[in-house]
Each structure stands twice: as structure tokens, then as C-alpha cells.
């Protein structure tokens, strides 16, 4: 299910909930505990009610929002209404590799070394994760698409930009191709897509 299909419910989470006066301290409250209110007692009860309502809505959204998010719009909505399904399943994730001329296949997004300071500032490493996200989005967009239409995809061109940046860093020139290799950390890696040969812009 795409996130945008579930979006109308998200409005309930994003807009502030008001608590009617009768739910607060004082007479006319809806909470009957059978003894006089202690200081903060009814405030606590209204707090509990609000928390439980928010928990219910967020739990429902978290458990039901799943599946692929293909468009930027859907990804942005996922940021607004997080699903919190971290590391749930072992999925094969695509790894980017590129080849210059007839040379060996090289890692397109090598890990960025990190030190103790990366607890506070870790821009390059987080950028690398965002690049992996683009590669992953490209693989999703390639699903069911004729191979010859791949170069027209925006994320295909973004991946090209990544490869060309790596080539500039390494001082490599010449025609190149890239491929996506599915890796799940369990089975042997498997090539799932190979681009046509390009010349750097």
C-alpha cells in the first residue's frame, strides 16, 4: 500500500488535539474515580486519555504503513508519518558497482571511515546512506520497466552522477558502465541490473 493512500488518517496525528474543558480538573469531568481529586489527578487522567488516543492512532499507522514507497511524495509522507519498522526483515539491498572500460568492477559507494567525532557530526557517512537510498529507489523503479527505458529515469541519472563523482575522485576517465548487485548478507551476491556503456559528461 502506498503511503499516500493512507494519508488522510495522518491528518489526525499531525493536527493538535484539543482537550475539552470538561476533561480537565474541576467539576463536570468525565472521569469518576470515586474519591476527591488529588492535585494533578484529573490532569493526569486527561493526560492518560490523550496519550492512549495518540498511541492508538500512531500504532495503527505504524503497523499498517508498509510496502514500497516509489515517489518523492510518498517518501516525504513516510517522514511525516513514520512507520518505525526498523530492520524488520532480511531484504536483499542493491549495491552499486561500476566498471571503467574493460577494468574490474569497483564499489560505487565505498564505506566512509568514521571516528569518535562522528557521534556528533557524520555528514559524509549519512550522505553515503542517502546515496544508497537512491540506488535502492532506482531498483524499485526498474521493476517491470523495459531495460531500454531505464536511462530516462531520474534516479538512473542520479546514480550516473554518483559514478562519475567516484571516477573524478579516483582520476579515472573513459567509458563506463554500472551495475546493481543484490546483497542480503546471507546468500551470494547476484547481479540484478547492468547499465549500457556511458561516457562521462
Amino acid at each position: 500500500m502506498l503511503v499516500r493512500e493512507a494519508c488522510p488518517e495522518a491528518v489526525d496525528v499531525l493536527h493538535p488535539l484539543s482537550v475539552p474543558p470538561r476533561h480537565r480538573n474541576g467539576s463536570g469531568n468525565l472521569f469518576r474515580f470515586g474519591r476527591p481529586p488529588v492535585e494533578g489527578g484529573y490532569a493526569g487522567a486527561s493526560m492518560a486519555l490523550v496519550s492512549l488516543a495518540l498511541l492508538g492512532v500512531a500504532l495503527a499507522l505504524g503497523l499498517f504503513l508498509r510496502g514500497e514507497v516509489r515517489s518523492s511524495r510518498a517518501r516525504l509522507l513516510r517522514t511525516l508519518v513514520p512507520s518505525w519498522r526498523f530492520f524488520a526483515e532480511i531484504d536483499a539491498v542493491p549495491i552499486l558497482e561500476y566498471q571503467v572500460g574493460e577494468g574490474p568492477w569497483r564499489e560505487g559507494l565505498p564505506p566512509v571511515p568514521r571516528g569518535i567525532g562522528s557521534l556528533v557530526l557524520n555528514g559524509p557517512s549519512n550522505l553515503r546512506l542517502a546515496e544508497h537510498g537512491v540506488v535502492e529507489a532506482l531498483l524499485e523503479e526498474l521493476d517491470g520497466l523495459p531495460v531500454d527505458r531505464a536511462p530516462s529515469l531520474l534516479r538512473y541519472r542520479m546514480v550516473q552522477a554518483m559514478v562519475e563523482a567516484r571516477m573524478r575522485e579516483a582520476g579515472e576517465v573513459g567509458p563506463y558502465a554500472f551495475r546493481l548487485v543484490a546483497s542480503d548478507g546471507v546468500s551470494p551476491d547476484e547481479e540484478v541490473f547492468r547499465s549500457v556503456v556511458h561516457r562521462p559528461a
Binding site: 517518501r75 539491498v93 559524509p124 546515496e131 537512491v134 531520474l154 546483497s183
Partner: protein, 268 residues
């Protein structure tokens, strides 16, 4: 913990989130220039799928100068979050929410996944807390606490339902994943079958048990201490530094809600 204490701490941590995340993006701004992966021409093309109002909000800030201006404003908003006047810190939080949307959209939807989501939760909660109605602070804090609590609980439930997690196989696989650049000695050490099995169950039980913290503030304090160590561990192993501060910013709200729960009268 009183709402004003919790709110002050959340504002301080929200300001730290804004400062550090903005500094990180400034450090990699080359990725947003005309030769970068997220070059402005790509971004304009990508915005075609966004709603018109959001496109109108974001388009002026796509270019390098416009986006840098947004980042500089975020640094100023971080300072305003410290001001003890609801209209000022609320306005700052509201603008910070919009700027967070601009940053996320500029990176095609999200820059750092779940940490972007939790940062937005914190800023949105602060904005709600500043609104002019009596229960605003409590509702804002409750929203932050609810999302934080669920982030652990849902993550635990979805794991415990997976046979690969229950057998320890999933954790071993994630430790071998090439995308995180995990130091090989960590992969080898934590990937040992018995250790992976124990660590998997420790993570799942901790995450699923997190809502129990609502029963007593002391228990919530203990769970928060474990959670903080858990996020530090994720930074060491997976490099996920943003999650440490984004989740830490929700802990005052969790402690506040747990202490309010403890004040509810029970029994006749």
C-alpha cells in the same frame, strides 16, 4: 517531572538537533550543487510528484543560494527555541517543521530515514506545545512520548514476528550488510551465532517491553538508560549517529508522561 521542565529540556534537545543536522548538511553541500547527485535540475524534476502547495513552498529554495539561506535560518531558529516565550519558540518550532520538510524534499523525500521522522515529531510536538490552549504543553509532550514509545514497541513487534530475528540470523545478516560499512571486527564478533541470538532476543525483549515504562517513572528511567546505550551501540556498529540525539530529545516527554501516569488515582 513538570511539563515546564520537560518542555525546556525538549526545546534544548530540539535546538541541538537543528544545529547538528544543519551543520551536517552544510558539510556535504557539494552534493547539492550543479555537479552533485542532488543537483537543482534533478530536484525540480523530482518535485513534479509533490502537491502544488508543497512545490510552491520548496521551489524558491532549490537553488544553492536559496537552500543555504534555509540552512542559515535553521541555525537562527535553533537559538530561538531557547527563548522562554511560547509565541517565539512556537513560531521557531513551526518554521523549523517547514524547513525540515524543505530539507527532506530537497533530498528526494528523506536524508536520513527514521531520524528525519523523529526530528519532525519533536519539532511538531514543540509547536503544538506552544499553541494557546490550556492543555497545549501536555498534548505536545504526549504526542512526542507516544511516537517515541511506539517507535520502540513497533520495531520490537515486527522483529519478534520474524523467524530470522528469533533465530539470530537476521542480526548476523545486517552485520554483514555492505551498505553500513561495519568494521569487520564488529561483524565477526557480534555475528557469532550464540552472541547474535542473545543480542537479538535482548533487543526484541527490550523494544517490546518499552511501554511497561509507563507503569512507573523509575522503570521508565531505567528503560531510557538502556535505550540510550542501545542507540550508542547502533552508532558504533552501523554509524547511525542522528538517531542518538533524535531519540534522546523524546526522553523528557517520556519521563513526564510516566510521572503523570503515576499521579492518576487508583482504586476506591
Amino acid at each position: 517531572m513538570t511539563p515546564s521542565h520537560a518542555l525546556w529540556l525538549t526545546r534544548a534537545l530540539g535546538a541541538a538537533i537543528l544545529l547538528l543536522q544543519t551543520a551536517e548538511i552544510l558539510s556535504v553541500r557539494h552534493a547539492l550543487d550543479e555537479r552533485g547527485v542532488w543537483r537543482p535540475s534533478f530536484a525540480r524534476e523530482d518535485f513534479g510528484t509533490l502537491p502544488a502547495w508543497l512545490r510552491a513552498l520548496i521551489t524558491p529554495f532549490v537553488g544553492e543560494r536559496g537552500f543555504i539561506a534555509v540552512l542559515v535560518v535553521r541555525l537562527l531558529l535553533a537559538a530561538l527555541l531557547f527563548v522562554d516565550e511560547p509565541r517565539l519558540f512556537g513560531g521557531a518550532a513551526g518554521l523549523a517543521v517547514l524547513s525540515q520538510l524543505v530539507v527532506s524534499a530537497r533530498f528526494g523525500g528523506t536524508f536520513n530515514g527514521g531520524s528525519d521522522g523523529m526530528s519532525l515529531v519533536v519539532l511538531l510536538g514543540l509547536f503544538v506545545a506552544s499553541l494557546p490552549f490550556e492543555a497545549a504543553a501536555r498534548v505536545g509532550l504526549a504526542y512526542i512520548a507516544a511516537q517515541s514509545l511506539l517507535s520502540y514497541f513497533i520495531a520490537g513487534v515486527v522483529k519478534i514476528r520474524e523467524a530470522d530475528w528469533r533465530s539470530g540470523r537476521a542480526l548476523s545478516a545486517f552485520l554483514r550488510a555492505r551498505r553500513y560499512g561495519i568494521p569487520p571486527h564488529f561483524s565477526r564478533w557480534l555475528g557469532q551465532p550464540r552472541l547474535a541470538l542473545s543480542a537479538s532476543w535482548a533487543v526484541m525483549l527490550f523494544e517490546c517491553a518499552f511501554p511497561l515504562g509507563l507503569l512507573r517513572p523509575e522503570l521508565m528511567g531505567a528503560l531510557i538508560a538502556i535505550a540510550f546505550l542501545f542507540h550508542l551501540g547502533n552508532w558504533i556498529v552501523f554509524g547511525l549517529n542522528r538517531f542518538v540525539l533524535a531519540w534522546a530529545a523524546t526522553y523528557p516527554a517520556l519521563l513526564y508522561v510516566a510521572s503523570e501516569m503515576a499521579r492518576i488515582p487508583h482504586g476506591p
